[in-house]
Symmetry: D3
Subunit: 62 residues, 6 copies
């Protein structure tokens, strides 16, 4: 542990994921004293039409 | 907040997702007094073979 | 299936949970044609200080 | 990886959790060839009134 | 209930998923006395580049 | 969106949660161009005996 799950609509480049994983892991080590090697991070990139805010899907058919 | 995650096997049409998102958000506002604009809803549409009930995968190879 | 997870900060009364579970299940049956008996709904009621929006915890120490 | 999350209503004894964690980890190693040391398992023990099946909360006020 | 979510990087064969679902369900019935028919298991097979351990993505661009 | 869930065994101080929420949100804005106000972060602090690594619970009865 820890286990971090990042969910977002749309997709990230591999370079963005690499950078986010690195920074989140560093933050957890520095602030919460969690050994880097035990930190798991997963990215769930959802289609925009599978995410709703305020009762409306983000993506649509037009 | 709130954050609602809906997981199901198979897929929904965009119109079904739109309708579900709208109704769930309305329900939460009416019953739990959560402002609509803060409600996030995500749909995870899993392949049927990635879902098991009673120890058996829903989808199969035939 | 389906499996629905509702996460929110603070708590709901049992009556609110009962009503939300009923309405969500009805909605899924009506819109997505999912048999009621297979729908699972879980509520995760988090302490307000375990939820952040915009980089700020919702609950605080005062 | 892998990461396994077990959610249930009510609680388990520590001995039950210990046994389940051991067996699940063994199964994943044997079937999916995942090294035991990388397998994380978490248990979420929910109050019965936070779990609904078929539109009804499992636990109630009587 | 219970609901079990298995997340891993890469993919499993249908036969592996079938075997894991069967064994996990059997384990829960034997150890935790949960009726098989109520146990749901889902598999999330993530792209390797969507999983980080120790701050590094498992999959890469080469 | 995005929605980030941080799961760990044991607990964090409120100050640690505040700092992690701030840094994660900043990172997502800078790297992924996600508006801060839409980023939700939740912390799940699990009892150590509800987390297993390598088939062994982290916490025990002694």
């Amino acid at each position: 542990m820890p286990y971090i799950n990042i969910r977002l609509a749309g997709s990230l480049s591999q370079e963005q994921k690499r950078q986010i994983a690195k920074e989140f892991t560093d933050t957890l080590e520095r602030i919460a004293h969690k050994s880097k090697s035990y930190t798991y991070i997963t990215f769930d990139e959802l289609p925009r039409e599978n995410w709703a805010v305020g009762g409306e899907l983000l993506g649509g058919d037009k």
